[in-house]
């Protein structure tokens, strides 16, 4: 279909193209349809699809008897597509070498003698469609109209593509969130079962012994003592898990609260937490604490932060030593927890602070993946900051800095993401 076929035939062809464009879901497909249709509609020797990129124009694709400028970028001010985009109107040029808007050196190597350029979307152009002839040809009104109609349809298709893209990425995000939530539920179930396991074994064992009336193999008192120890330890582990889950929900709803009091000592908090870990890890934990690091803080939340960091360090620190240090400088108090484990890969250093995330394999380490998220939110709520460093000699250092005096009561900076739990 070239040359002077009837207007009816061309209109039919245009309708076909418009129908095809209405189904387009991606930009490459859109460009491909438009570049071919642009040439076909007017019977030109070449067509280009140009995208506006601010100061530049990008010749995205072409369909022509000889090479034009596919894949190249030009300053919008120095070319005719840029002119059509800026002026929001078409340009008809019968002799490209006679028109001051045409950069001669760009056209000289090509077959082009005449051209027609129309903007895509007239009110706020996003690009342009070009038609080119190898002979001197003044584009007719009919040709201008046809090409402009194609450009208008392309503009609607372009909007669709963009909306579709936004929709798919929103859908992907939602699917990822749902997957995270499902994984999380399964991890929560596992984590809640873990402390239940020893308590269930102990109680069933005790019941069997009582039923058998047999306490000769293991003295009754020993067994009872073991039972109460295990049960108490696991119940407090269960409470901790439940408390973590509640904290996450408080954070999500922006309802985490702080009970601040004067004269709370950061070093003392660290010492108390370390004392709690003495029965399991006395030999591994060393303290390098400054004498006094006083501030107006929530003591329990502070201990929660330190406890989370310490238990992580002990868990991932490969049985090596863990150091807790503290200090004061210029209105800030700081505490750091250092381990000598494998450290955290560069790529994971941001991620570990997110909900449900962990740097280590779930197959090797349990846990809800909430500890560092809670820590970061509490620290932020206290007006402080947490940083992670992985020194070249190995291990990880988590360093928390807290302002000693807060200017005023600032509302806690809490994530406003919708809750998943």
């Amino acid at each position: 279909m070239t040359g002077s076929s009837g207007i009816a035939q061309k209109t039919r062809y245009l309708v076909e193209v418009v129908q095809k464009l209405s189904l387009v879901r991606g930009l490459p497909e859109l460009i491909d349809i438009v570049r071919k249709a642009a040439r076909e509609l007017t019977g030109a020797d070449g067509a280009t699809f140009v995208l506006s990129e601010g100061e530049m124009v990008y010749y995205a694709d072409e369909d022509a008897i000889g090479p034009l400028w596919k894949g190249r970028r030009f300053p919008a001010k120095a070319c005719i597509s840029g002119w059509a985009i800026a002026q929001k109107t078409h340009a008809v040029i019968e002799d490209v070498f006679q028109d001051p808007r045409i950069p001669v050196d760009v056209y000289a190597p090509t077959f082009v003698k005449s051209l027609l350029m129309v903007p895509i979307r007239k009110d706020a152009p996003i690009g342009a469609i070009g038609n080119y002839w190898s002979r001197n040809h003044r584009a007719t009104e009919e040709e201008v109209e046809l090409l402009q109609s194609l450009a208008d349809s392309a503009s609607i298709a372009f909007q669709n593509v963009r909306l579709y893209g936004e929709l798919s990425s929103a859908k992907e995000m939602l699917e990822r969130q749902l997957k995270l939530r499902d994984d999380f539920i399964s991890i929560v179930a596992h984590e809640l079962k873990t402390p239940l396991s020893p308590a269930v074994i102990q109680s069933q064992f005790l019941k069997r012994m009582l039923e058998a009336g047999d306490f000769t193999a293991h003295p009754q008192e020993d067994q009872l003592r073991k039972f109460s120890e295990v049960t108490a330890r696991q119940l407090s582990e269960l409470s901790r898990l439940v408390e973590d889950l509640l904290d996450v929900s408080r954070i999500s709803f922006g309802r985490i609260s702080f009970r601040e009091e004067e004269g709370v000592c950061l070093s003392e908090c660290a010492r108390r937490v370390a004392d709690r870990y003495k029965p399991v890890a006395a030999a591994r934990v060393s303290l390098r604490l400054t004498e006094r690091a006083l501030g107006r803080w929530d003591r329990l939340r502070l201990e929660q932060v330190i406890e989370n960091l310490l238990s992580n360090a002990l868990k991932y620190g490969e049985e090596k030593s863990v150091e807790i240090s503290s200090g004061v400088r210029q209105g800030f108090a700081w505490i750091s927890v250092r381990d000598y484990g494998p450290g955290i890969a560069e790529a994971d250093r941001e991620r570990v602070f997110e909900r449900f995330e962990r740097a280590a394999s779930l197959r090797s380490f349990g846990g809800l993946g909430l500890g560092l998220y809670i820590v970061r939110e509490i620290v932020a709520g206290m007006g402080g900051e947490i940083r992670l460093e992985c020194p070249p000699e190995g291990g990880a250092i988590f360093r928390v800095e807290l302002p000693i005096q807060r200017e005023s009561v600032v509302p806690a900076r809490l994530s406003q993401v919708p809750t998943l739990v």
Binding site: K193, T194, S197, I201, F205, R363, S364
Partner: protein, 127 residues
């Protein structure tokens, strides 16, 4: 009471579970060795004189997890003969594992455990 002299190896990283299981199984009449993770268990298995008749295996463990440990067993024609019962809170994740003698879910029910062991060793006697 279960047949005596049957030796079990409990591979479990949680100290409370490990020690409780050991106490209970010994009370039930089994000989019990324990390991904290897969690597620990492999070094115990290196001694042929102490090889267990059955392994109770947790899955999620540091250093060497249960899946990795099972793969190591499969590499060795002798160790691969030792029956393995997986004890896990993630029982659905044990489905991909080959030739298990059983999967028990946590929290462990001691009736189920003793029944599985008895059934296993009785079946062995019949065969």
């Amino acid at each position: 009471m279960a047949p005596s002299k049957k030796r079990l190896l409990v591979v479990e990283d949680d100290r409370d579970i490990r020690e409780s299981l050991q106490a209970f199984l010994e009370w039930e009449g089994y000989g019990v060795q324990t390991a904290e993770h897969g690597k620990d268990a492999l070094s115990l298995l290196a001694d042929p004189s102490r090889r267990p008749h059955l392994i109770l295996l947790d899955l999620m463990m540091p250093v060497m997890n249960g899946w990795e440990f099972k793969e190591q067993l499969e590499q060795d024609p002798v160790l691969d003969q030792i029956p393995v019962i997986v004890v896990t809170a993630f029982s659905e994740r044990a489905q991909s594992m080959k030739r298990l003698s059983g999967v028990l879910s946590k929290p462990l029910d001691l009736d189920l455990l003793t029944n599985s062991l008895k059934r296993y060793f009785e079946k062995e006697l019949v065969e």
